[in-house]
């Protein structure tokens, strides 16, 4: 473990916004009230701003304006050491999903999730990353895929889906409008979404393809805080899209993938793309508005509610689109309390679901989501993130609840009038 590398990364990661955040915190503790890990455990160590303590110490000791004068009088915090980094590794990776709900409650508007992300980069520099994320990163670098699904397997899955819905799907087709990428969880567990997309796009007259060189949007580099891996994975998608000369790359039902490709991607690869990134929910909503998707007149009668994936809604800005789509297919759509930008995380975002060490805490933290769900008593829960869906299904089982979890794209396809 390299403590000095971690300190150096902390120092390099502190820009004007990080400094303003660290200098604004008045230690009011309100962020704890927004954190599902604190809410469900009562453990004060899970107070979001406490997770930034190593970064705050490094800033106050090494970089803060006037820290030189304070250092002369011994008034700066102690140096971050090995024990501290080891302790904080758990806080930074296991008890933070980067959901960013704490920012809403913060009177100073501090983007704590953003600073946790930066702190993870220091942990990577130190060599302190949970085994689950390390293993995923290893698979990405060695096999090229985080869950190890090779191109030939992917081609087989696509072929089976094409056969099931009776619509041919051409892989690696040059010159189409849209290139679809999927979350690793969709490829592994929810591959029916491929058939659903084929049906929707056929009705809408959309030309599309899937590249066998870049079909997974999951970006473990973003989750663990390794910029180089994150850049490599974004570049892989950029290269494939440019090779196929598509106009759009469709970001899938995956929270951090949208953030990785649309918001962080251009900054990681250092240029704007030759194509546009559109989220699948934006695309479906647009197709509906253009009258290119028609649904049955008989709508879903179940009492359904929507779980907002944090990185798509709160930190992605796609708030209305999923609701427009749900109103289109459901006759009984009900919102949870604090829906939309204030919604509670599933508990497994930000790489927490890939971190087996965090499993018990993740399941426990679902208690906050359960409260939200119990208040509206839905018969089905819809979401738009493969990872959320998987995490929710697991937690729902653990809590002995009887609640199916549906993907929004698949639900729209189910009610297509074709």
């Amino acid at each position: 473990m390299s403590v000095s590398a971690a300190i150096e990364t902390f120092v390099n990661n502190i820009d004007a916004s990080a400094a303003a955040y660290l200098d604004s915190c008045v230690h009011c503790g309100q962020c704890a009230q927004a954190c599902h890990f604190y809410e469900t455990t009562g453990d004060v160590r899970y107070t979001p701003v406490w997770k930034l303590e190593p970064m705050r110490r490094v800033y106050k000791r090494h970089k803060a304006p006037l820290s030189g004068i304070k250092k002369m009088f011994g008034l700066v915090p102690d140096e971050v050491d090995e024990d501290m980094l080891k302790e904080w590794e758990e806080l930074i990776y296991d008890s933070c999903t980067l959901c960013g709900r704490c920012t809403i409650v913060c009177p100073m508007g501090i983007d704590i999730a953003g600073l946790v992300r930066k702190s993870r980069e220091a942990m990577v520099a130190a060599g302190l990353v949970p085994e689950g994320l390390n293993a995923a990163a290893k698979r990405v670098l060695e096999i090229g895929r985080p869950l190890g699904i090779k191109p030939e397997i992917m081609a087989k899955i696509v072929g089976e889906q094409a056969e099931e819905v009776g619509i041919p799907i051409e892989l690696n087709k040059v010159g189409v409008d849209y290139m679809i990428i999927l979350s690793a969880m969709e490829v592994l567990n929810f591959y029916e979404v491929i058939g659903a997309l084929a049906r929707i796009f056929k009705q809408a007259g959309v030309t599309w393809t899937i590249s066998t060189e870049a079909y997974e949007a999951t970006n473990v580099g973003i989750q663990m805080g390794d910029k180089e891996i994150a850049r490599t994975l974004v570049q892989r998608i950029v290269d494939a899209a440019e090779k196929l000369q598509v106009k759009y790359v469709v970001s899938p039902e995956c929270g951090h993938a949208y953030s990785a490709l649309n918001w962080e991607g251009p900054n990681l690869v250092g240029k704007n793309y030759d194509f546009e990134v559109i989220h699948i929910l934006e695309l479906l909503d647009q197709l509906v508005r253009e009258g290119r998707i028609k649904t049955k007149s008989e709508l879903d009668q179940r009492r359904v509610t929507f779980h907002d994936p944090c990185q798509i809604v709160r930190r992605g800005g796609i708030v209305d689109e999923p609701r427009n789509l749900l109103h289109m297919v459901s006759d009984n759509f009900i919102e949870m309390e604090n829906y939309g930008v204030a919604n509670i995380c599933c508990g497994g975002g930000g790489g927490v679901s890939s971190n087996s060490r965090a499993e018990e805490l993740r399941i426990k933290s679902f208690g906050a989501k359960k409260k939200q769900l119990d208040a509206v008593g839905p018969e089905a829960l819809v979401t738009a993130c493969g990872n959320c869906r998987n995490v929710l299904e697991e937690a729902i089982d653990e809590f002995g609840m009887d609640l199916p979890v549906l993907g929004l794209t698949e639900l729209v396809a189910e009610y297509l009038d074709d």
Binding site: I14, D15, A16, S17, A18, A19, A20, Y21, D23, S24, C25, V26, H27, C28, G29, Q30, A32, Q33, A34, Y38, V44, R45, T47, V49, W50, K63, A64, P65, L66, I69, K70, L75, G100, R101, T103, I104, V105, C106, P107, M108, G109, I110, D111, G114, W263, E264, P266, N267, G270, K271, N272, R314, R315, G316, G317, V319, E337, N338, V341, A342
Partner: protein
Amino acid sequence: MTFLEITEGPLWVLASSVFVLGALWRIIGIIRFGRKPDISIPRASALMGAIKGQFLHFVPHGGFSFRTRYHLVAGYMFHLGLFALLIYAAPHVLFLKENVVGFDWVTMPRWGFILSAEIAFAGLILLWIRRISDPVMIQISDADDHIASWLTFLAMLTGCLALDESHDSLRALHMLSVEIWLIYFPFSRLMHAVTFVFSRGYTGAFFGRRGVVP
């Protein structure tokens, strides 16, 4: 030179200089760290987000009002009471006219001073009680938080003692406590009084680009 003359003369110049120069040094220092330009394509205006962010965080939103009520009420009691005293207390207006700005403005009556002081004291004491009793705040608080609270408390207390201007030493004591507070300000978390604008602005801009300001 009397104690009062020292606190209203050279010590005042020293303290106010440290306050202004120190705060400026710190603000310029933060800005000079810079930020890499974000080249992703914005969905909406970052500037509008930054402006909206300034106002949004005045009240916790998104369903936290019950959980954060104590802090919200105590925080506003303290800050509003303190600002009312700072800006409208007759001795302050006179002092600022003679030593800083050269003009005066409307002042609050004595009952207004008493009421503002009571509200500010109540707010500050409630916040400090929470700091020493709430497990979360105990965990995250450090010496700076307590020193800042106590220096503010002392400045307010000596200000009340000096209200009747019955004795020069009470006025000098108030000046001294304010001067210690001013010198402490740029080195401490009291700087949040300025840096909150940047913090809210950066976050507002981040979300503004994404077309949402939560």
